[in-house]
Protein backbone atom coordinates (compact mmCIF):
# COMPACT_ATOMS: atom_id res chain seq x y z
CA UNK A 1 0.00 0.00 0.00
CA UNK A 2 2.73 2.44 1.06
CA UNK A 3 4.74 1.64 -2.04
CA UNK A 4 1.67 2.20 -4.24
CA UNK A 5 1.20 5.65 -2.70
CA UNK A 6 4.89 6.43 -3.18
CA UNK A 7 4.66 5.21 -6.76
CA UNK A 8 1.60 7.38 -7.43
CA UNK A 9 3.39 10.36 -5.90
CA UNK A 10 6.43 9.78 -8.08
CA UNK A 11 4.22 9.43 -11.16
CA UNK A 12 2.35 12.66 -10.42
CA UNK A 13 5.63 14.59 -10.21
CA UNK A 14 7.67 12.70 -12.81
CA UNK A 15 10.24 15.29 -13.88
CA UNK A 16 10.29 16.83 -17.37
CA UNK A 17 12.87 19.10 -19.01
CA UNK A 18 12.35 22.79 -18.23
CA UNK A 19 12.41 23.38 -21.98
CA UNK A 20 9.17 21.42 -22.29
CA UNK A 21 7.52 23.54 -19.60
CA UNK A 22 8.73 26.69 -21.39
CA UNK A 23 7.29 25.53 -24.72
CA UNK A 24 3.98 24.47 -23.17
CA UNK A 25 3.75 27.76 -21.30
CA UNK A 26 4.29 29.79 -24.47
CA UNK A 27 1.68 27.74 -26.35
CA UNK A 28 -0.92 27.95 -23.57
CA UNK A 29 -0.63 31.73 -23.17
CA UNK A 30 -0.50 32.43 -26.90
CA UNK A 31 -3.68 30.38 -27.17
CA UNK A 32 -5.39 32.53 -24.52
CA UNK A 33 -4.79 35.56 -26.73
CA UNK A 34 -5.91 33.66 -29.85
CA UNK A 35 -9.02 32.41 -28.05
CA UNK A 36 -10.08 35.98 -27.30
CA UNK A 37 -9.90 37.15 -30.89
CA UNK A 38 -10.12 34.04 -33.10
CA UNK A 39 -11.64 30.97 -31.44
CA UNK A 40 -14.27 32.38 -29.07
CA UNK A 41 -14.99 35.96 -30.18
CA UNK A 42 -18.66 35.47 -29.17
CA UNK A 43 -17.74 35.88 -25.49
CA UNK A 44 -16.99 39.55 -26.06
CA UNK A 45 -20.47 40.17 -27.46
CA UNK A 46 -21.97 39.18 -24.10
CA UNK A 47 -21.07 42.67 -22.89
CA UNK A 48 -23.84 44.16 -25.00
CA UNK A 49 -26.53 41.64 -23.98
CA UNK A 50 -29.11 42.98 -21.47
CA UNK A 51 -28.25 42.07 -17.86
CA UNK A 52 -31.68 40.40 -17.44
CA UNK A 53 -30.38 37.48 -19.51
CA UNK A 54 -27.35 36.97 -17.22
CA UNK A 55 -27.87 33.79 -15.16
CA UNK A 56 -24.73 33.56 -13.02
CA UNK A 57 -23.24 30.14 -12.36
CA UNK A 58 -22.77 28.91 -8.78
CA UNK A 59 -19.22 30.26 -8.61
CA UNK A 60 -20.40 33.62 -9.96
CA UNK A 61 -23.09 33.83 -7.27
CA UNK A 62 -20.74 32.72 -4.47
CA UNK A 63 -17.92 35.15 -5.11
CA UNK A 64 -20.16 37.19 -6.05
CA UNK A 65 -19.12 38.44 -9.47
CA UNK A 66 -20.78 41.51 -11.03
CA UNK A 67 -23.27 41.32 -13.89
CA UNK A 68 -21.25 41.91 -17.09
CA UNK A 69 -21.46 45.36 -18.61
CA UNK A 70 -19.80 46.58 -21.83
CA UNK A 71 -17.15 48.32 -19.70
CA UNK A 72 -16.36 45.23 -17.61
CA UNK A 73 -16.18 42.95 -20.65
CA UNK A 74 -13.89 45.34 -22.54
CA UNK A 75 -11.68 45.72 -19.45
CA UNK A 76 -11.29 41.96 -19.02
CA UNK A 77 -10.74 41.51 -22.77
CA UNK A 78 -7.89 43.99 -23.07
CA UNK A 79 -6.14 43.21 -19.77
CA UNK A 80 -6.35 39.48 -20.49
CA UNK A 81 -4.98 40.01 -23.99
CA UNK A 82 -2.03 42.03 -22.68
CA UNK A 83 -1.35 39.71 -19.73
CA UNK A 84 -1.46 36.54 -21.83
CA UNK A 85 0.93 37.94 -24.44
CA UNK A 86 3.30 39.03 -21.67
CA UNK A 87 3.02 35.62 -19.98
CA UNK A 88 3.83 33.88 -23.27
CA UNK A 89 7.36 35.28 -23.03
CA UNK A 90 7.92 33.16 -19.90
CA UNK A 91 8.76 36.20 -17.76
CA UNK A 92 7.35 36.48 -14.21
CA UNK A 93 5.66 33.08 -14.56
CA UNK A 94 3.99 33.23 -11.18
CA UNK A 95 2.61 36.80 -11.18
CA UNK A 96 1.61 36.83 -14.84
CA UNK A 97 0.39 33.23 -14.69
CA UNK A 98 -2.02 33.86 -11.83
CA UNK A 99 -3.18 37.10 -13.46
CA UNK A 100 -4.02 35.26 -16.68
CA UNK A 101 -5.71 32.44 -14.77
CA UNK A 102 -7.96 34.79 -12.78
CA UNK A 103 -8.87 36.94 -15.79
CA UNK A 104 -9.51 33.93 -18.02
CA UNK A 105 -11.66 32.35 -15.30
CA UNK A 106 -13.76 35.53 -15.10
CA UNK A 107 -13.89 35.50 -18.91
CA UNK A 108 -15.34 31.99 -18.73
CA UNK A 109 -17.97 33.08 -16.18
CA UNK A 110 -18.96 35.82 -18.63
CA UNK A 111 -19.05 33.20 -21.40
CA UNK A 112 -21.05 30.49 -19.64
CA UNK A 113 -23.60 32.49 -17.63
CA UNK A 114 -26.19 33.07 -20.34
CA UNK A 115 -27.80 29.64 -20.47
CA UNK A 116 -25.12 27.47 -22.07
CA UNK A 117 -22.09 25.82 -20.46
CA UNK A 118 -19.39 24.42 -22.75
CA UNK A 119 -17.19 21.47 -21.81
CA UNK A 120 -14.38 22.01 -24.27
CA UNK A 121 -11.89 23.68 -21.94
CA UNK A 122 -11.66 21.94 -18.58
CA UNK A 123 -8.14 20.67 -19.32
CA UNK A 124 -7.13 24.09 -20.61
CA UNK A 125 -8.36 25.72 -17.38
CA UNK A 126 -6.34 23.16 -15.41
CA UNK A 127 -3.25 24.06 -17.48
CA UNK A 128 -3.78 27.75 -16.65
CA UNK A 129 -4.22 26.89 -12.95
CA UNK A 130 -1.06 24.78 -12.65
CA UNK A 131 1.40 26.63 -14.91
CA UNK A 132 2.05 29.44 -12.38
CA UNK A 133 3.40 26.75 -10.00
CA UNK A 134 5.78 25.24 -12.55
CA UNK A 135 8.61 27.67 -11.86
CA UNK A 136 10.92 29.50 -14.22
CA UNK A 137 11.75 27.67 -17.43
CA UNK A 138 13.93 28.71 -20.34
CA UNK A 139 13.41 27.35 -23.85
CA UNK A 140 15.91 24.59 -24.56
CA UNK A 141 16.89 24.06 -20.92
CA UNK A 142 17.40 20.32 -20.32
CA UNK A 143 17.36 20.59 -16.53
CA UNK A 144 14.57 18.41 -15.29
CA UNK A 145 11.90 19.76 -12.97
CA UNK A 146 9.39 18.00 -10.75
CA UNK A 147 7.21 21.11 -10.37
CA UNK A 148 6.97 21.29 -14.17
CA UNK A 149 6.30 17.55 -14.35
CA UNK A 150 3.37 17.91 -11.96
CA UNK A 151 1.92 20.77 -14.03
CA UNK A 152 2.06 18.73 -17.24
CA UNK A 153 0.73 15.60 -15.52
CA UNK A 154 -2.26 17.50 -14.13
CA UNK A 155 -3.09 18.78 -17.61
CA UNK A 156 -2.79 15.28 -19.06
CA UNK A 157 -5.08 13.85 -16.37
CA UNK A 158 -7.59 16.62 -17.07
CA UNK A 159 -7.50 15.77 -20.79
CA UNK A 160 -8.23 12.11 -20.07
CA UNK A 161 -10.91 13.01 -17.50
CA UNK A 162 -12.65 15.10 -20.15
CA UNK A 163 -13.06 11.95 -22.24
CA UNK A 164 -13.62 9.35 -19.53
CA UNK A 165 -16.04 11.43 -17.48
CA UNK A 166 -17.89 12.49 -20.65
CA UNK A 167 -18.67 8.80 -21.19
CA UNK A 168 -19.81 8.68 -17.58
CA UNK A 169 -22.09 11.68 -18.17
CA UNK A 170 -23.56 10.02 -21.25
CA UNK A 171 -24.41 6.94 -19.22
CA UNK A 172 -25.77 9.11 -16.40
CA UNK A 173 -27.98 11.37 -18.53
CA UNK A 174 -28.63 9.24 -21.60
CA UNK A 175 -28.25 5.72 -20.20
CA UNK A 176 -27.15 2.76 -22.27
CA UNK A 177 -29.73 3.86 -24.84
CA UNK A 178 -27.37 6.74 -25.75
CA UNK A 179 -25.39 4.36 -27.92
CA UNK A 180 -28.39 3.29 -30.00
CA UNK A 181 -30.23 6.63 -29.89
CA UNK A 182 -30.21 9.50 -32.37
CA UNK A 183 -27.81 11.97 -30.75
CA UNK A 184 -25.46 12.20 -33.75
CA UNK A 185 -28.38 12.54 -36.17
CA UNK A 186 -29.55 15.48 -34.05
CA UNK A 187 -26.11 17.04 -34.02
CA UNK A 188 -25.88 16.71 -37.81
CA UNK A 189 -29.32 18.28 -38.30
CA UNK A 190 -28.37 21.20 -36.06
CA UNK A 191 -24.83 21.86 -37.24
CA UNK A 192 -23.75 19.22 -39.73
CA UNK A 193 -21.51 19.78 -42.75
CA UNK A 194 -22.10 18.45 -46.27
CA UNK A 195 -19.75 15.61 -45.39
CA UNK A 196 -21.91 14.76 -42.38
CA UNK A 197 -25.04 14.74 -44.55
CA UNK A 198 -23.42 12.12 -46.76
CA UNK A 199 -22.33 10.03 -43.77
CA UNK A 200 -25.80 10.26 -42.23
CA UNK A 201 -27.27 8.43 -45.21
CA UNK A 202 -25.28 5.25 -44.50
CA UNK A 203 -27.53 2.90 -42.52
CA UNK A 204 -26.41 2.28 -38.92
CA UNK A 205 -23.13 4.18 -39.37
CA UNK A 206 -24.14 6.87 -36.87
CA UNK A 207 -25.13 4.26 -34.31
CA UNK A 208 -21.82 2.44 -34.83
CA UNK A 209 -20.05 5.79 -34.37
CA UNK A 210 -21.92 6.36 -31.09
CA UNK A 211 -20.77 2.99 -29.77
CA UNK A 212 -17.24 3.81 -30.95
CA UNK A 213 -17.27 7.16 -29.14
CA UNK A 214 -18.24 5.60 -25.80
CA UNK A 215 -15.59 2.88 -26.26
CA UNK A 216 -12.90 5.44 -27.08
CA UNK A 217 -13.80 7.65 -24.13
CA UNK A 218 -13.85 4.77 -21.66
CA UNK A 219 -10.51 3.44 -22.94
CA UNK A 220 -8.76 6.84 -23.06
CA UNK A 221 -6.97 6.38 -19.66
CA UNK A 222 -4.92 3.64 -21.32
CA UNK A 223 -2.76 6.38 -22.84
CA UNK A 224 -0.92 6.48 -19.50
CA UNK A 225 0.33 2.91 -19.85
CA UNK A 226 1.57 3.55 -23.38
CA UNK A 227 5.15 4.62 -23.98
CA UNK A 228 7.18 6.21 -26.76
CA UNK A 229 5.79 5.66 -30.23
CA UNK A 230 2.56 4.14 -28.94
CA UNK A 231 1.80 7.14 -26.78
CA UNK A 232 2.40 9.47 -29.73
CA UNK A 233 0.10 7.26 -31.80
CA UNK A 234 -2.59 7.59 -29.11
CA UNK A 235 -2.18 11.39 -29.16
CA UNK A 236 -2.52 11.19 -32.95
CA UNK A 237 -5.73 9.24 -32.49
CA UNK A 238 -7.09 11.88 -30.08
CA UNK A 239 -6.41 14.56 -32.69
CA UNK A 240 -7.92 12.52 -35.51
CA UNK A 241 -11.08 12.02 -33.42
CA UNK A 242 -11.45 15.79 -33.11
CA UNK A 243 -10.61 16.29 -36.78
CA UNK A 244 -13.58 14.11 -37.72
CA UNK A 245 -15.75 15.98 -35.19
CA UNK A 246 -14.82 19.32 -36.77
CA UNK A 247 -15.32 18.00 -40.30
CA UNK A 248 -18.78 16.61 -39.56
CA UNK A 249 -20.50 18.54 -36.77
CA UNK A 250 -18.26 21.66 -36.61
CA UNK A 251 -17.42 21.32 -32.91
CA UNK A 252 -13.80 22.42 -32.56
CA UNK A 253 -12.83 21.82 -28.92
CA UNK A 254 -9.86 24.14 -29.62
CA UNK A 255 -8.82 24.74 -25.97
CA UNK A 256 -8.85 20.99 -25.34
CA UNK A 257 -6.73 20.38 -28.46
CA UNK A 258 -4.15 22.76 -27.04
CA UNK A 259 -4.17 20.96 -23.67
CA UNK A 260 -3.43 17.65 -25.44
CA UNK A 261 0.01 19.01 -26.38
CA UNK A 262 0.96 18.35 -22.73
CA UNK A 263 1.59 14.76 -23.87
CA UNK A 264 4.18 15.78 -26.47
CA UNK A 265 7.97 16.35 -26.24
CA UNK A 266 7.40 20.03 -27.07
CA UNK A 267 10.96 21.03 -26.15
CA UNK A 268 12.02 19.69 -29.53
CA UNK A 269 10.07 22.30 -31.50
CA UNK A 270 12.12 25.45 -30.81
CA UNK A 271 10.93 27.34 -33.88
CA UNK A 272 12.65 30.63 -33.00
CA UNK A 273 15.94 28.89 -32.31
CA UNK A 274 15.77 26.99 -35.59
CA UNK A 275 15.10 30.12 -37.60
CA UNK A 276 17.99 31.91 -35.90
CA UNK A 277 20.29 28.97 -36.59
CA UNK A 278 19.22 28.79 -40.23
CA UNK A 279 19.81 32.52 -40.66
CA UNK A 280 23.24 32.42 -39.02
CA UNK A 281 24.39 29.40 -41.05
CA UNK A 282 23.29 31.16 -44.24
CA UNK A 283 25.17 34.27 -43.17
CA UNK A 284 28.34 32.27 -42.54
CA UNK A 285 27.83 30.18 -45.66
CA UNK A 286 28.22 26.80 -43.99
CA UNK A 287 25.90 24.19 -42.54
CA UNK A 288 25.52 24.04 -38.76
CA UNK A 289 28.07 21.95 -36.91
CA UNK A 290 27.03 18.58 -35.51
CA UNK A 291 27.53 20.00 -32.00
CA UNK A 292 24.97 22.72 -32.67
CA UNK A 293 22.49 20.15 -33.95
CA UNK A 294 23.10 17.97 -30.91
CA UNK A 295 22.37 20.88 -28.60
CA UNK A 296 18.91 21.07 -30.10
CA UNK A 297 18.15 17.44 -29.68
CA UNK A 298 18.48 16.83 -25.98
CA UNK A 299 15.57 14.46 -25.89
CA UNK A 300 14.93 11.32 -27.89
CA UNK A 301 12.33 11.84 -30.61
CA UNK A 302 10.43 8.81 -29.55
CA UNK A 303 11.52 5.98 -27.33
CA UNK A 304 11.05 6.60 -23.68
CA UNK A 305 10.93 10.31 -22.86
CA UNK A 306 12.20 11.37 -19.46
CA UNK A 307 8.81 12.69 -18.43
CA UNK A 308 5.13 12.36 -19.13
Amino acid sequence: MASAVTGLGRWLTEPVPRGRVAAFRTLVYLFAAADLVVFSPWVRSHGAIPGELYQPLLVGRMLPLPTPTPLLVEFVFWTLLAASLAAATGRAPRALGWTVFLLYFEWMIIAMSYGKVDHDRFAYLVALAVLPTAGRARHGDATRTEAGGWALRMTQIAVVCTYFLAAWAKLRFGGLGWMTGSVLARAIIRRGTDLADVIAQVPYLLIAAQIGIIAFELLSPLIFVLRGRWRLAAVGFFYSFHLVTIATITISFAPHLLAITSFLPLERLRPVHRIQRALSSRRHGRPPTPAAVGALDQMPVVGRPAGP
Binding site: R18, A48, D118, A147, G177, R186, I189, Y204, I207
Partner: protein
Amino acid sequence: MVSAQMDTLSTRGRAARFLASGLGFALLLAGTVWGHDDDFPFGPFRMYAGSNPPNDPAPDTRVEGVDRTGAVVSLDEGGTGIRRAEIEGQQGRYAGDPALLREVAAAYTERHPSAPDLVEVRIVIRWHEVRAGRPTGKYADETVLRWRAP
Protein backbone atom coordinates in the same frame (compact mmCIF):
# COMPACT_ATOMS: atom_id res chain seq x y z
CA MET B 1 21.35 12.93 -23.56
CA VAL B 2 19.55 13.72 -20.34
CA SER B 3 20.96 16.30 -17.99
CA ALA B 4 21.91 15.06 -14.54
CA GLN B 5 20.59 18.30 -13.06
CA MET B 6 17.14 18.27 -11.54
CA ASP B 7 14.85 20.63 -9.64
CA THR B 8 13.29 18.59 -6.87
CA LEU B 9 10.25 19.62 -4.87
CA SER B 10 10.39 20.36 -1.16
CA THR B 11 8.35 18.11 1.13
CA ARG B 12 5.89 20.93 1.60
CA GLY B 13 5.66 21.68 -2.11
CA ARG B 14 5.04 18.01 -2.81
CA ALA B 15 2.37 17.72 -0.09
CA ALA B 16 0.56 20.86 -1.30
CA ARG B 17 0.50 19.48 -4.86
CA PHE B 18 -0.86 16.10 -3.77
CA LEU B 19 -3.55 17.82 -1.74
CA ALA B 20 -4.53 20.03 -4.70
CA SER B 21 -4.56 17.01 -7.05
CA GLY B 22 -6.79 15.00 -4.69
CA LEU B 23 -9.16 17.90 -4.02
CA GLY B 24 -9.53 18.78 -7.70
CA PHE B 25 -10.12 15.18 -8.69
CA ALA B 26 -12.69 14.67 -5.91
CA LEU B 27 -14.60 17.81 -6.96
CA LEU B 28 -14.62 16.76 -10.61
CA LEU B 29 -15.76 13.24 -9.75
CA ALA B 30 -18.52 14.56 -7.47
CA GLY B 31 -19.60 16.98 -10.20
CA THR B 32 -19.81 14.15 -12.71
CA VAL B 33 -21.84 11.91 -10.39
CA TRP B 34 -24.17 14.44 -8.73
CA GLY B 35 -23.46 17.86 -10.25
CA HIS B 36 -25.03 20.04 -12.94
CA ASP B 37 -23.92 22.70 -15.42
CA ASP B 38 -24.29 25.27 -12.64
CA ASP B 39 -21.25 23.76 -10.89
CA PHE B 40 -18.84 24.89 -13.64
CA PRO B 41 -15.95 24.15 -13.94
CA PHE B 42 -16.58 20.94 -11.99
CA GLY B 43 -19.97 20.04 -13.52
CA PRO B 44 -20.55 16.92 -15.60
CA PHE B 45 -19.27 16.84 -19.20
CA ARG B 46 -22.81 16.55 -20.52
CA MET B 47 -22.50 18.09 -23.98
CA TYR B 48 -24.48 15.76 -26.25
CA ALA B 49 -24.98 13.37 -23.33
CA GLY B 50 -28.77 13.30 -23.63
CA SER B 51 -30.40 10.36 -25.33
CA ASN B 52 -33.29 10.26 -27.72
CA PRO B 53 -35.07 7.23 -29.14
CA PRO B 54 -33.99 6.47 -32.72
CA ASN B 55 -37.31 7.71 -34.15
CA ASP B 56 -37.77 10.92 -32.13
CA PRO B 57 -38.01 14.08 -34.24
CA ALA B 58 -34.98 16.37 -33.80
CA PRO B 59 -35.48 20.05 -32.88
CA ASP B 60 -33.63 22.81 -34.74
CA THR B 61 -34.33 26.04 -32.86
CA ARG B 62 -34.14 29.54 -34.28
CA VAL B 63 -35.22 33.00 -33.18
CA GLU B 64 -36.92 35.37 -35.60
CA GLY B 65 -38.06 38.93 -35.34
CA VAL B 66 -40.51 40.99 -37.35
CA ASP B 67 -39.66 44.67 -37.75
CA ARG B 68 -42.18 47.46 -38.17
CA THR B 69 -41.90 47.27 -41.95
CA GLY B 70 -43.13 43.68 -41.74
CA ALA B 71 -39.78 42.15 -42.70
CA VAL B 72 -38.68 38.95 -40.94
CA VAL B 73 -35.21 39.30 -39.38
CA SER B 74 -33.03 36.40 -38.22
CA LEU B 75 -32.14 36.91 -34.56
CA ASP B 76 -29.21 34.49 -34.60
CA GLU B 77 -25.81 34.89 -32.92
CA GLY B 78 -24.73 37.41 -35.56
CA GLY B 79 -27.93 39.40 -35.07
CA THR B 80 -28.01 39.60 -31.28
CA GLY B 81 -24.75 38.20 -29.85
CA ILE B 82 -26.84 35.50 -28.12
CA ARG B 83 -25.93 31.94 -29.08
CA ARG B 84 -28.70 29.58 -30.09
CA ALA B 85 -27.85 27.20 -27.26
CA GLU B 86 -28.23 30.11 -24.84
CA ILE B 87 -31.77 30.70 -26.12
CA GLU B 88 -32.50 27.00 -25.65
CA GLY B 89 -30.83 26.96 -22.23
CA GLN B 90 -33.16 29.72 -21.04
CA GLN B 91 -36.23 28.57 -22.95
CA GLY B 92 -37.97 27.68 -19.67
CA ARG B 93 -37.54 31.27 -18.49
CA TYR B 94 -38.89 32.66 -21.75
CA ALA B 95 -41.85 30.28 -21.55
CA GLY B 96 -42.62 31.46 -18.00
CA ASP B 97 -42.36 35.10 -19.05
CA PRO B 98 -42.54 35.61 -22.84
CA ALA B 99 -42.07 39.37 -22.29
CA LEU B 100 -38.43 38.49 -21.56
CA LEU B 101 -38.05 38.12 -25.34
CA ARG B 102 -38.01 41.92 -25.49
CA GLU B 103 -34.45 41.63 -24.11
CA VAL B 104 -33.55 39.69 -27.26
CA ALA B 105 -35.02 42.54 -29.27
CA ALA B 106 -32.98 44.98 -27.14
CA ALA B 107 -29.80 43.01 -27.88
CA TYR B 108 -30.61 43.26 -31.61
CA THR B 109 -31.22 47.01 -31.40
CA GLU B 110 -27.94 47.44 -29.49
CA ARG B 111 -26.07 45.85 -32.41
CA HIS B 112 -28.17 47.46 -35.16
CA PRO B 113 -29.04 50.94 -33.88
CA SER B 114 -30.19 52.20 -37.28
CA ALA B 115 -32.37 49.16 -38.14
CA PRO B 116 -36.18 49.49 -37.90
CA ASP B 117 -37.58 48.53 -34.46
CA LEU B 118 -38.75 44.99 -33.88
CA VAL B 119 -42.45 44.58 -33.17
CA GLU B 120 -42.37 40.83 -32.66
CA VAL B 121 -39.89 38.19 -31.47
CA ARG B 122 -40.62 34.47 -31.73
CA ILE B 123 -38.87 31.21 -31.02
CA VAL B 124 -39.45 28.69 -33.81
CA ILE B 125 -38.52 25.03 -33.69
CA ARG B 126 -38.08 23.13 -36.92
CA TRP B 127 -38.83 19.49 -36.14
CA HIS B 128 -36.82 17.20 -38.40
CA GLU B 129 -38.10 13.68 -38.91
CA VAL B 130 -35.66 10.95 -37.81
CA ARG B 131 -35.97 7.24 -38.60
CA ALA B 132 -33.61 4.60 -37.20
CA GLY B 133 -31.17 7.30 -36.11
CA ARG B 134 -31.07 8.96 -39.55
CA PRO B 135 -32.64 12.23 -40.70
CA THR B 136 -35.21 11.66 -43.47
CA GLY B 137 -35.10 15.23 -44.81
CA LYS B 138 -38.74 16.00 -43.86
CA TYR B 139 -39.54 18.71 -41.33
CA ALA B 140 -42.26 20.92 -39.86
CA ASP B 141 -41.98 24.34 -38.18
CA GLU B 142 -43.61 25.14 -34.85
CA THR B 143 -43.67 28.58 -33.21
CA VAL B 144 -43.30 27.78 -29.54
CA LEU B 145 -43.11 31.29 -28.08
CA ARG B 146 -44.08 34.74 -29.28
CA TRP B 147 -43.80 38.25 -27.87
CA ARG B 148 -45.40 41.29 -29.52
CA ALA B 149 -44.41 44.83 -28.70
CA PRO B 150 -47.26 46.48 -26.76
